[in-house]
Symmetry: C2
Subunit: 421 residues, 2 copies
């Protein structure tokens, strides 16, 4: 076991905390984001683990020597992608006692048995949260929190490219080729999109999830898959009419003493937890008798998002056993913060009322975003959504409104979160 | 440190694996479910951790002696609820070197600083996934996967009773009192619902999440909250009109070098990830610059669901460092499984076509659940949703349909998941 794996959570004293030397294989999109994030969060890693991370070597196609990087590292992060030479490097690193973090789904979907075997023999951790759905904690949840849960089924929208294309086709009515071209322009699809649109990428991820959920060997070649290339706008129009959503769905399920692991386009009824997952987002739903269903969703790709998952794995390795909670700071708790509000007023329906109310709001520097007025008999209801302002200021405005003779009853207000922040 | 915490993942050989002796405090709804689940999953726990769990003592109001149970246990599970005497027992257990798993939100929201301090001093784990949103892995995600992430905000629907009431009010147009009475009948609300409907329960959970997200001490008394008692059907009608959903929302956010932690009723725009969370479900959304937003949802209460979270914590303690994946079985992978399908046929619009098609389906034992027929010129489109049948049988039916002279083009089919299973 390497020094890293045995380090635990306690910082050395005396000469200061011992750094953890990280060797990085690959500096593409994710690799570069990881190097930057590691630097930006170094103090947080030190606070959480007692070890300060140091990037001691980076292997790229043109630079660096693997043997040298391995020799000088306590922990290896593999972000090169592909199975060769990643397979050889990851195996060698673990055999040399280095824990490994990887985001490489193909590596684990094709050579999982070999690599997990080497990890066990070598007594080191092999972590891979980023290999499935980037920063969405599906691996951690299935492998750790649900380690002994009786999982029956895992449903996954685990490919952002295809979910983006299907969402766009449903929203615009456009055909597959047009939307694919648009996805390529926006960077949501590769120049050669085959791996995504054929379902092959999703199949690799489902192989990994099925292995973890059912504790059984599953390799990519055993996962059957079907892509979205032949979906037509017609299919999506009928889906809308039937109240169904069309998704490229990964399904891993237990059926008696066997399992089924597949990927196919699929209509979901509208109340299905995966039905609202739109655009490039990913989501995984886990079902079992003891916990019903748990759904995890979020961005399933992106350099920074994937790098975040990798960093989470690095921290888990450094922290050893689950960290005992410790505060690192003592932040004051604010009583007054800015918020948006919905404001509901019942007023006498006579000229000038709206102007009076608008003046009171304006005097308190509360501004109106939208307003709906509706008469009921002699009264009118004004329903407004206000722009964000300090709650104390809004409270003063409401007090001033309540003191006007114009209101039939006290003003009613409710917080609003209106737009994606 | 107790033997348990140091046990690691390796099963002893020779006299067989060493059992782990578990002392259970409390045998209410959750306690009873935990005892049953522990028994049912004992072999799975052994496979995952190398230790077989044994329930060695249960403390209830009328039976058992705490000191005796502590003495005979390697690990304490506290499911009594309330702060006294739970606080004293949990503290004593940790001081005696026993790791503790608890589902007690009040204990941690009110006495977190003291108890986490004792855990650190004693070098034992204190785990509490079930204290917030039952089996939804929010504690694990925030504390472990996102330990060094720069979390900006946590939004939570963390009280199922109030979410059920608001969902019902929105769906039925009924008033608060009527829906509360209904929730009480169905067991979604207590006879005295104050703790839930006032927002106090959600406030305790948000205090815990804020502490973990921001690494800063937060206690229940610092969380301001507002309940749902004064929400009217009118508010929900306007919400619908404005395209907004009304939720009781917990918000913990960083604002510069301070934080804000609050609970209040809140309108959410329809695309907000928490907007589709209906009924007694809970959900937590975590936002930060490096990972955008990750949302976790599922059942937020229930004896068995809460017990599942407790068992997950017990397993994590026994497993020590994150377990290296190991297969425990070798399940065959099925090629042919039952599925439901959508079937889209373009046919000549003449008498008898539907009958011919229905006969072919029937001959292959494929039965129709719903069908829509629509004419276009001389052609008609038949869109059907079929009952679940073996895929091989469905494939034979499609082949037979394609061989008919009636179709204008090949039949198109797509998987369907129609109803919540």
């Amino acid at each position: 076991m390497s020094e890293v794996a045995a380090a635990g959570t306690v910082a050395d004293v005396g000469d200061g905390p011992k750094p953890v030397r990280i060797g990085l294989l690959g500096r593409g999109n994710v690799g570069a984001a990881f190097a930057e994030l590691l630097d930006a969060r170094a103090e947080a890693v030190l606070a959480a683990t007692g070890r300060k991370p140091e990037l001691v070597g980076v292997l790229t196609r043109s630079e660096g020597d693997f043997a040298e990087i391995l020799e000088g590292s306590d922990l290896i992060v593999e972000l090169m992608g592909g199975t060769d030479p990643a397979r050889e490097y990851v195996a060698a690193a673990m055999r040399a006692g280095r824990p490994v973090v990887t985001a490489n789904k193909q590596l684990l979907a094709q050579h999982g048995d070999e690599l997990f075997g080497i990890a066990r023999e070598s007594g080191v951790q092999l972590r891979f949260e980023a290999a499935v759905a980037a920063v969405i904690p599906v691996v951690r949840t299935i492998q750790e929190g649900f380690a002994t849960a009786d999982i029956e089924r895992v449903y996954g929208i685990v490919n952002g490219t295809t979910n983006f294309i299907l969402s766009e086709m449903a929203a615009s009515g456009a055909g597959y080729d047009d939307v694919l071209a648009r996805a390529q322009e926006l960077g949501y699809a590769e120049a050669d999109p085959t791996d995504d649109v054929s379902g092959a990428d999703a199949a690799a991820k489902m192989a990994i999830l099925a292995r973890l959920a059912f504790h059984t060997p599953v390799t990519l070649s055993e996962v059957s898959y079907e892509g979205i290339e032949s979906i037509t706008p017609d299919d999506l129009a009928f889906a809308k009419e039937l109240g169904l959503s069309l998704k490229l769905l990964g399904v891993a399920e237990r059926r008696g003493e066997a399992i089924s692991v597949r990927v196919f386009p699929c209509f979901l009824y509208s109340a299905h937890p995966l039905a609202p997952i739109e655009g490039a987002f990913n989501a995984v739903m886990i079902q079992g008798p003891a916990f019903n269903e748990v759904t995890l969703s979020g961005p399933g790709a992106g350099g920074l998002q994937t790098a975040s998952a990798v960093l989470g794995d690095v921290v888990s390795i450094l922290a050893g056993e689950a960290p005992v909670h410790e505060t690192r700071t003592d932040l004051p708790i604010l009583a007054d913060v800015p918020s948006s509000f919905y404001l509901h007023l019942e007023v006498a329906d006579r000229p000038g009322v709206l102007a009076t109310i608008a003046t009171v709001l304006g005097d308190n520097q509360v501004s109106v975003k939208s307003v709906v007025q509706r008469g009921i008999g002699d009264d009118a209801r004004l329903v407004m959504v206000l722009h964000e302002c300090l709650e104390s200021r809004f409270a003063r405005a409401v007090e001033a409104l309540n003191e006007l003779g114009e209101l039939r009853g006290p003003a009613r207000s409710i917080h609003v979160i209106e737009e994606r922040s």
